[in-house]
Structures are given as structure tokens and as C-alpha cells.
């Protein structure tokens, strides 16, 4: 029996392992190294209504045990996604696809949700109100409790698909925002998006990133992410998709113990493209060793 089988906010998954948006492209970029269909779900690159070029370079800077990015949601826009990307995905991908959805205005979030809602093959929506690399929408929405609640409520009205709201750690009280989002119709909370950071080139006497600030991710952010998962678990009754610096099976287990029902792997896939396969195998082994009926037995165990 599959001990990793998970139902995450209505999405049936063969295991609780997903890929974090923006780190796994459009689902097939890592196909040379492993079959993406082994994943419980693929969370696709951030999508917007209109195409976006993203931010000017330099877009990446490495820091000890982490990296900064200021990609700025580069994507080909909804029409291309629907007509080309989805068709390519449907040829090879059988596992769950989750769209990471972004907008500049609440109206744009709603319009894009309506369009995504019509695509049967999409299993769920990750509503990104926490991207630190865009001027409009993004983190500005997620950091404002009133707007976070409003955008969740309005998007909820136009879709029956599972709605996972991705929150920013760059706020004072994330539990409060998580609860508000839950009260306004979210089916799950995704935490954490990247931490806002910067890097400086002392020779050029300039910030490294073209956009000055960027989103900080990788193993270095794990303690912060774990703490937030733990806090939010106490505040809400909906499931949590945990992420932030997971680079081993042990890390994934820690997130689940803190309260995550499923986890996303991100930056660490760049270091180790086989990480998703290793974590799935590792969780299976852990279930056997610990004689668990299902991996969900450990979810939130720290709180019991």
C-alpha cells in the first residue's frame, strides 16, 4: 500500500512532494534526470494574464547556503500558457498540475482565475500574493491583511478549484494574515515565499541584483520557514504546504512535524536535480522504519 498517498485540500496525490513555483519551470525541464510524474504535484512557474519579461539582469546572486533571485515573474502570459504550454504538458505529464497565479490588481487576479478555472487539467491554484520581485501586486498584496483577504475572497468566488494562498514571510504577523485568508475562502496556505534580501558587489560598489532586492531562498532560510509553519499551524484549520530550504528527507519530515501536510522542494533541486526522487524514497523508508500507516501520521505531531 502507498503510505505516502495524500489528499491535500482536495487534490489526490501519490505523495506529498511538490516542486516550488519558479524552480521547476514549466514542468519538464528536469525530465532528463527523473520522471516528473513521480511528484505528487508540480507547481508551475508564476503565471500572469499578459506576458512578462521579468526584471533586468543580474537576476541571481549566491549567498552562503542560499541564493537571491529577482526574476520578476518572467512568463509568456495566459494565452501562450493555454494554447502551447498546456498542450506540451498534457503530452507527457500525468501528475497534478498546480498553477501559481499572479496579478497586478485584484481584478487581474480574478480574471486570470476565471480563465484557469476553465482548464480541467489544472488540479489547483496557488494564489501568489507574496512575490517579492514585482512592484505591483505580489508581496504588496500579501503584506496588507485587508487586501490579502479581499483578493482571496474575490478569487474564491470565481473558482471551485482548490485554492492555496501563498504567503510572504516578510510581514510582522503572518498567523493573522493566514487566518484572514482562511476566513475568506482559502483551502490551504503555502508558506513560505522567499525572504526579502540583497547582496552587494564591493568591487563595483553596486548591488549585485539589477532589481537591488531579491527573494532569498535555499537551506539558509529553513529555520525561519519551519518556525512560520509551526506558528501558522496553530492559527488555522486548513492544511499547509510547507517550503523553504528543504534539501533532504529529514528536512521534509521536520516541516511535516511542524504542521505541513505537503511540502514543496525548490532551490535545492538546482544543487541536486535528483532531490525529489530521493525525498520520496526517503519518506517511504521512514514510514516503514517508523511503522506508520501513512505519512500524514506525523503532520503537526509537534503540536500534539
Amino acid at each position: 500500500m502507498n503510505k505516502l498517498k495524500t489528499n491535500f485540500c482536495g487534490i489526490d496525490m501519490k505523495n506529498p512532494i511538490m516542486t516550488a513555483s519558479g524552480t521547476f519551470g514549466w514542468g519538464k525541464e528536469y525530465s532528463d534526470y527523473f520522471d516528473p510524474n513521480v511528484l505528487g504535484a508540480i507547481v508551475l512557474k508564476g503565471l500572469t494574464l499578459e506576458p512578462r519579461k521579468g526584471n533586468p539582469g543580474t537576476r541571481i546572486a549566491e549567498t552562503p547556503s542560499g541564493m537571491l533571485n529577482s526574476i520578476g515573474l518572467e512568463n509568456p502570459g495566459f494565452e501562450h500558457f493555454k494554447n502551447i504550454t498546456m498542450k506540451e504538458l498534457e503530452e507527457d505529464i500525468s501528475t497534478n498540475l498546480i498553477v501559481n497565479l499572479n496579478g497586478k490588481t485584484i481584478e487581474e487576479y480574478v480574471e486570470l482565475t476565471e480563465k484557469i478555472d476553465k482548464i480541467d487539467r489544472i488540479a489547483g491554484i496557488e494564489l501568489n500574493i507574496s512575490c517579492p520581485n514585482v512592484k505591483d501586486g505580489g508581496m504588496a498584496f500579501g503584506a496588507n491583511p485587508k487586501i490579502a483577504a479581499e483578493v482571496t475572497r474575490k478569487v474564491r468566488e470565481v473558482t471551485k478549484k482548490p485554492l492555496i494562498v501563498k504567503l510572504s514571510p516578510n510581514v510582522t504577523d503572518i498567523s493573522y494574515i493566514a487566518k484572514l485568508v482562511e476566513d475568506n475562502g482559502a483551502d490551504a496556505i503555502a508558506i513560505i515565499n522567499t525572504l526579502l534580501g540583497m547582496a552587494i558587489d564591493i568591487e563595483k560598489k553596486k548591488p549585485v541584483l539589477g532589481n537591488i532586492f531579491g527573494g532569498f531562498s535555499g537551506p539558509a532560510v529553513k529555520p525561519v520557514a519551519l518556525r512560520i509553519v509551526y506558528q501558522v499551524y496553530k492559527a488555522v484549520n486548513i492544511p499547509i504546504l510547507g517550503m523553504g530550504g528543504i534539501s533532504s528527507t529529514k528536512d521534509a519530515i521536520e516541516f511535516m512535524m511542524a504542521g505541513a501536510s505537503a511540502v514543496s522542494l525548490g532551490t535545492s533541486i538546482f544543487t541536486n536535480p535528483l532531490l525529489p526522487v530521493e525525498v520520496i524514497e526517503g519518506l517511504n523508508k521512514y514510514c516503514k522504519e517508523e511503522k506508520l500507516k501513512n505519512i500524514s501520521d506525523i503532520v503537526g505531531i509537534l503540536h500534539k
Binding site: G25, Y33, G54, I60, A61, P64, E74, F270, T271
Partner: protein, 254 residues
């Protein structure tokens, strides 16, 4: 074309003077697929370094199953790489990206390398020299930058340096212009500092010569997933790691 993750044994990792190194590894999988202009991502051993280092392929020795990389120590990752010895095992990912056009016949080709841009040109010269006539212009900052030429060992090489300490006192672009006055060059391939490639491309466009440039950008994934290395081209946004690093100069340089 497939890409692999491969644990490879270091055969040699020698300093060519100053910050320049030549790394030779034994490969079984990647070597079968890799082409001139493509690159591999080398995994650092230090866990605090989380991004792989993109290093272009310098030479493919299929007979002995040996891949050669030529690199400069610029940051922590490459400095760490420079400390590794024969017998050490490293994990490399590749082949990645699109390389140079190599299926060419009966052309006169100018290949221009500046500094570390010389790195991918040995394999390119080897590939295209068989059925074409190649002139190789090598430019560099100091004498150490030219040590690699011994490993390239190509007779039709013209060395130019800014201070004239080695070869002619010229830059690569001036030398290219001089050659174009005398010879009918059909194609230009170049790799080096961005400003040098821009100037080379300008000369190529002015003379209506097909030109390929090998670009460099900071990369996260090497597979086209993260879009960290995206650039604007005449054909829309392209990823240097996946759609490049080699591009038709007209696509990327105005």
C-alpha cells in the same frame, strides 16, 4: 539530446599560471553527447555553496574518455575546484545548452577568443578545422591567459595583447578588421568579454558575415527552469543556459 548527472574522477587539475586552470576528468555518459560550445555544471563540495558552477567544455577526448575544462578562479566555487587533485570525485551535470554550429564545410572561419573566452574554442577549432579554413585570434590580459594555447596547439593562431607583451600589440577586433581586409571570411565565432563580442558582432554585421557569440550570465539551474539567466533577444526572452550560451549574433547584439 539527453543530459546526465555523472560522478567523474579527476585525472588532472593543473594551474597554468596565475588564476588559470586546466581540469581533466574521466567521463562515460556526458562525453558521448557533449558538443563544442556546450557546458557542464559542476557541483561544489562545500555545502554552503548551493549553486553548481557552469564551466564550458574545452576539449573532448573521446578516445581516452576524457573531458577537459579550462577555468579561472574567480569566486569561492572555482577556488574550491582549484584545490581538487587527481583521484578526487566530482559530480557534473551536462551536457547543457546549445553549442556552436559545427556542421560547416568549405568556409573561411575566423574564431576569436578573449581571455577566458578562449575556453570553449579548442573543441570548436578541432571540429570545424577539418573541412574549413580557420584563423584563430586569441587575445588576453596577461601572459598567463595564453598558456592555454599550448594545450590548443593550433598552428593558425594569431596572438594579440593590449600591451604587446605577447604577440602583436592590438586588440582582437582590430586584428579581425585587418584580416577582413585581406581575406574573404565567411563566418565568425567568438567568445570573450561582452564588449569584445559586441564589437566583433558589429564588424561582422557591417561586413555581412554570419556570426555566433557565446554569452555568459549568472545561472541558477542550468536547465531553463529558473529563468535567472534570461536575456532579451529579437526572438523574445531567451535563456542563456538552455537556448544558448551560443546565439546568432543578430539575435542578441543590435
Amino acid at each position: 539530446m539527453a543530459a546526465f548527472l555523472e560522478d567523474v574522477k579527476i585525472i588532472e587539475n593543473i594551474c597554468l599560471g596565475s588564476r588559470y586552470y586546466l581540469l581533466k576528468v574521466k567521463s562515460e555518459k556526458i562525453i558521448k553527447e557533449i558538443k563544442a560550445g556546450q557546458f557542464c555544471m559542476i557541483k561544489p563540495l562545500d555545502n554552503a555553496l548551493i549553486l553548481r558552477r557552469p564551466i564550458s567544455i574545452h576539449n573532448i577526448d573521446k578516445e581516452n574518455g576524457v573531458l577537459e575544462f579550462y577555468y579561472e578562479t574567480v569566486g569561492k566555487g572555482t577556488k574550491e575546484l582549484s584545490t581538487l587533485k587527481a583521484g578526487d570525485i566530482i559530480n557534473i551535470q551536462g551536457p547543457l545548452g546549445e553549442g556552436f554550429s559545427i556542421n560547416i564545410k568549405d568556409k573561411k572561419i575566423a574564431i576569436i577568443g578573449g581571455g577566458m573566452g578562449i575556453a570553449p574554442l579548442k573543441e570548436l577549432i578541432k571540429q570545424v578545422n577539418k573541412e574549413n579554413k580557420v584563423v584563430f585570434i586569441a587575445g588576453g590580459r596577461d601572459k598567463y591567459a595564453f598558456e592555454i594555447l599550448k594545450n590548443i596547439n593550433f598552428k593558425n593562431t594569431i596572438v594579440v595583447s593590449d600591451d604587446g607583451s605577447i604577440g602583436e600589440k592590438k586588440n582582437t577586433v582590430e586584428k579581425l578588421k585587418e584580416i577582413l581586409e585581406k581575406e574573404n571570411i565567411n563566418m565568425i565565432f567568438t567568445c570573450g568579454p561582452h564588449i569584445m563580442m559586441e564589437k566583433v558582432a558589429e564588424v561582422a554585421h557591417k561586413n555581412n558575415i554570419y556570426c555566433e557569440v557565446s554569452l555568459e550570465e549568472r545561472m541558477g539551474c542550468g536547465t531553463g527552469a529558473c529563468m535567472g539567466c534570461s536575456i532579451e533577444t529579437t526572438k523574445g526572452m531567451k535563456k542563456v543556459c538552455k537556448d544558448g550560451p551560443v546565439f546568432n549574433s543578430k539575435e542578441v547584439i543590435k
